[in-house]
Symmetry: C2
Subunit: 318 residues, 2 copies
Amino acid sequence: MKTALLPLALAGLLATAAAAPPKPAAQPASPKTAQQILAGSPATDWRDLDPENTLLMELASGQVIIELAPRFAPAHAANLRALARGGYWNGLAILRVQDNFVTQWGDPDSEDAAKARLLPAGAQQKLPAEFSVPIDRVGKAARFTRLPDVEGWAPRTGFAEGFPVAANPKTGQAWLAHCYGMVGAGRSDAIDSSNGTELYAVIGQAPRGLDLNITLVGHVLKGMELLSALPRGTGAMGFYDKPEQRTGIQRVRLLADVPPAERPALQVLRTESATWTQLLDARRYRGGWFVHSPGYIDICSATVPTRPTPPAPAQAPK
Amino acid sequence: MKTALLPLALAGLLATAAAAPPKPAAQPASPKTAQQILAGSPATDWRDLDPENTLLMELASGQVIIELAPRFAPAHAANLRALARGGYWNGLAILRVQDNFVTQWGDPDSEDAAKARLLPAGAQQKLPAEFSVPIDRVGKAARFTRLPDVEGWAPRTGFAEGFPVAANPKTGQAWLAHCYGMVGAGRSDAIDSSNGTELYAVIGQAPRGLDLNITLVGHVLKGMELLSALPRGTGAMGFYDKPEQRTGIQRVRLLADVPPAERPALQVLRTESATWTQLLDARRYRGGWFVHSPGYIDICSATVPTRPTPPAPAQAPK
């Protein structure tokens, strides 16, 4: 196990603006594959889904599991919980699929006051914009793991609680980054015009130009291919021209409202773990088929792995 | 029109390793939209398809237009021409769609000597690896337009003849970059094991770690959504488990072999043009809905636009 990165990883975002970034590990003689690293990962490097922070979306094609990001978008996370609890999205639809950009879902009649779906009890019509948070909210508490690799979109990047995070010590702000599979809340021109009723998932090259322009609320942990492989809409911005082209949403529930026996048994790799650090190294330094290693990754290069929850170890008889 | 970048753009890759990158333009007071820039583009900023360097792939769902990159992969480009001329892919299939990675097509029976499709006359079984070219092949002749923006994957980046290009003055090499829509030639373990019979297109976050590991042969100019919206394969690496899950390829022709009246009338924006430079600036500095501009782009942030060939101007009567 490579340990050189661990102390640096824990240094987090709290260092001053002038701090040098941590250095990446040197190229190993025989890099492990991702499969080998995952097979050797300790159980403590994995976490269970948090039922209060997970949405279960059901399409005819299968389940999409979305993890919320309350540390970065607390008001939106609370509203998404209320919307799911009130069955807001049940029977609504995927309205837009724009190639190499986003898949978006919500109420097809949202602009028609007479037909628009009403918000359920507890859901707010108006929320603050949550484009970024103070940098000190994403420190040790969020177990921020800083990437040593330098990129052009933001002065600092890394992972916190499973999410790709960018930060700028000069402005004192940190924010979620628009990587593949991230989920955001659509807005109109006013920055505080999103309330989470209309959501989108990134299905192409990371549109990092959206960072700091819109509230990201979470990411897809499972079922991403059910959103990314849909026919592209041929209307403006990839909206479907005809209602029959839309994909219906059967229902969306907060995982806490799903009977425990029916909940997907899924675990997520902790991004503060040694296993995650090793996986990132395995993408910087390739073996096997590869003849060249980039010696580099960025926050959108790797997606946090999930796995079926392993069976509980047998209890010793008393 | 912003002109500050033009002389720098023409400086190309020929400068020495120590040369400072060109500076990006300053943020304009009221940025133009991409639509406004394209609407005002002069006809000379557009080029026609080159029939000798364009493949027309026909699926039941529509046409996919692939532009070859003979400057970067001359042996592969020649072989792709011969394969298309000989009808090699006609009746073959899309074999693999791996989410957030690639769609791949070729001969389902390529590993079965008794059933594998034979190469047509003129096509070579064995080609050299074409992972990179000497940097001086991508200079003025290719009208290389260097990006001022600095990224982590390569010391130098820009665009040449419509393609995203990376380069390293220290190694003296330049290469095509794995951005969305780029097309490459699948290979086995041996670096010279690709001959263009099996091709892939990038359908997700740019897998830049593949750069310098495999031969890129071109890019999809039109019909990308026919490759990206296919159901993902559930076998290892996204291969389809069952033959009936595959999408058939009706035929692939070299555009030169298509009767002129049937050729798609498409133009491509020149990446050495002022219009392209302005489009990149419009992504660095956003107006309208955006409240924050990244002040940055990378070579995979923008896709080269195409347009229907405008009607020829009316001739004056003689």
